[in-house]
Symmetry: D2
């Protein structure tokens, strides 16, 4: 189980807007049943089997080309932890629990 953040940016597209490309990427993700994902203001975070995720990231990377882009910059950050089954939810709650515990002890 890995958590992977990906952001895919077309270069030289005349428009500064990239939301249409992101929406297309999410249509790809919506068809993947074995991968959980969430959209953030800076990218998409995927959770699941690393090889499955990388296969999907590879498809997402092609989307701007399919829409006419000639250069695409893709950033992939993998967090792969094998001592415990880390999920997106657990990573978040590990932090919020620590913040809550401190507040409670005041």
């Amino acid at each position: 189980m890995a958590i992977v953040e990906v952001s895919i940016t077309p270069l030289g597209t005349a428009s500064t807007s990239i939301s249409a490309y992101v929406a297309d990427c999410h249509r790809v993700l919506a068809g993947e049943t074995a991968i959980r994902y969430q959209l953030t203001p800076m990218g998409t975070i995927l959770e699941g089997d690393l090889d499955e995720i990388l296969r999907v990231v590879r498809r997402m990377h092609e989307i701007p080309f399919a829409r006419g882009a000639l250069r695409v910059s893709t950033l992939v950050k993998i967090d792969d932890r094998r001592d415990t089954r880390a999920t997106m939810t657990q990573k978040l709650s590990a932090v919020t629990e620590k913040l809550q515990a401190e507040e409670d002890s005041r």
Copy 2:
């Protein structure tokens, strides 16, 4: 107005867990009134004046050292758009509206 994602990772800390460092970073952020932020499973996203944000990121980068780390890897991704006032909320809704529009037209 810029949107900035930051992730701060201590290296060589014996433990694979980093949530305590992240919680400390969020205590720094909680004291900043001019910066909006949100925690994601892969980092923290900040919105506000770029110089203000970079000043806070610089402070966040020191936190693992203050807790004893001897090496820190920090990744900062800046999305700075000056043709329109982009916020975290607007970036997300630009995508979700496109996805919704397609669903509605089916």
Copy 3:
């Protein structure tokens, strides 16, 4: 033809040094004949067919685990340009030629 930068960082390894992991990654690369690569102080840059490169990156990501690490953070940045055949050498010379041209015109 794509150019890809990768950096692979084991977390929670007690030591702040990661050069032994990087050396192992380069042993993997040395056996790949279809991929050109260069080591930089911040990562490894690979040039070749994108699918070939991603297959190798996937193997490199396993190396710290094989050496006992329990958590690995891997950052992959893909620069994929399809309007021209961009190589690492060409990217560098496009910049240095511009700098040289300016100096010559003084």
Copy 4:
């Protein structure tokens, strides 16, 4: 002493080429005497005092805007090690020495 990699990418600029922006960034760097730097095919690596470097990165980030870009994506990766005085040269030689040692022992 920190080592920092930066890549600065203008979005929506019509052209896929960004070497002119990179050349301008290097003109900024050439005027900085306290910072060592090297150009790679994927970015620029800077070595020196972290605050000095971040000040220069902030100036480099403005360059595409000065050339007319309306959106800029900047990626900054900081490697800050305080148990030893790490330089770009030392990081590279730590790896190459390990590779050489293995070859010698064959």
